[in-house]
Symmetry: C2
Subunit: 229 residues, 2 copies
Amino acid sequence: MSGRALEALEQAEVVVGYKAYIELIFGLLLEKEVMSSGMTKEVERCSLAINRALEGKKVALVSSGDPGVYGMAGLVLELLEQKGAVESLDLEIIPGITAATFAAACLGAPLMHDFVVISLSDLLTPWEIIEKRLEHACRGDFVVVLYNPSSRKRTEQIHKAREIMLEYKKPATPVGIVRNVARKDEVSVITDLERMVNYSIDMFTTIIIGNSQTRRVGRFLVTPRGYRL
Amino acid sequence: MSGRALEALEQAEVVVGYKAYIELIFGLLLEKEVMSSGMTKEVERCSLAINRALEGKKVALVSSGDPGVYGMAGLVLELLEQKGAVESLDLEIIPGITAATFAAACLGAPLMHDFVVISLSDLLTPWEIIEKRLEHACRGDFVVVLYNPSSRKRTEQIHKAREIMLEYKKPATPVGIVRNVARKDEVSVITDLERMVNYSIDMFTTIIIGNSQTRRVGRFLVTPRGYRL
């Protein structure tokens, strides 16, 4: 967590968030009004946070990683717009360390060169758009970072994504898989595009697929930037 | 800065970095051995840091943003490999907040959906590869984040990149420009693809170009994720 995020939490009178994230920071929330709820309640949580803020409270809405990467920042702005209140609040979006770069640090240095970030969740995005993006990510020889690769109800997407990538990338392309990134039970493995689906992949997993230059360096992954050594 | 980065600096006996970054944290470095040097001395700085570490010192090598995104993490691993010392050091790569998500937070929430990160520096990468990546980034309708858009010696790249993007994206596509991100003199502006080059763009500038859904919400930029409101 950044110093600024910690400070904002300390200053908040009301803290709102997804319950699993609130549990992670519960020790920081003594004597504050805390409101948490479950998955798929994003719109409700953001509305709650906005309403308390419009009532004059200092409110912190908690995201994990970075609130601007598939997080709550955009939803808050859209809801404020709907209420005609975009300019009425003293709103600060505090950036954080997103799963892509946190997972990269666990794996070595796979993001030293141009990369794409794609969510495989088709709950809010048509699958055809995700497929098109995977295809162009491969054709541009980008390193590919996958968010939300799989969940209890969505298990086929990661298999389809791998098949699309195998049309453009070699089966031996290095792949890093990190589960529970930045948590106590974080685990990571380095494998390849051919074998990646043999590992357990869930909604708390971030996957990084190399470009044509990515290679193993000892127990690490590196995408060289091109320095002459 | 994250708590872990601060802790690592406090524990370090030797701190190595680009001189402009060392200046930013000079107050934290009292009573430490500090080695700094200028631009293009990256290989030298990493070698220095590695040598001191192999001598048994606790060394912190400082990057701004995230060391794994066009930073020093990969170079350190490649140099360790060259010395046959990848496994001999207790190496920790500490992730940080990269310019893409920091700039996004200044601008609102432009990275709520799939995005690419591309460096326009052709010092280490052939320009043809950068062009191909820009093209596929547009064809996949990604939000595009540009690092290193311009420098004193490289001024044409941003104009060429804009022309490529104009072949695929509308001239009115929203663009956010952030200079000196996370510094005291940070400034940001929201404009569009047509007019973006009318603003001052240098090597301390990060540029975010929207996808087909990105729009202005008050003084912010938002790429909607697709929640029903």
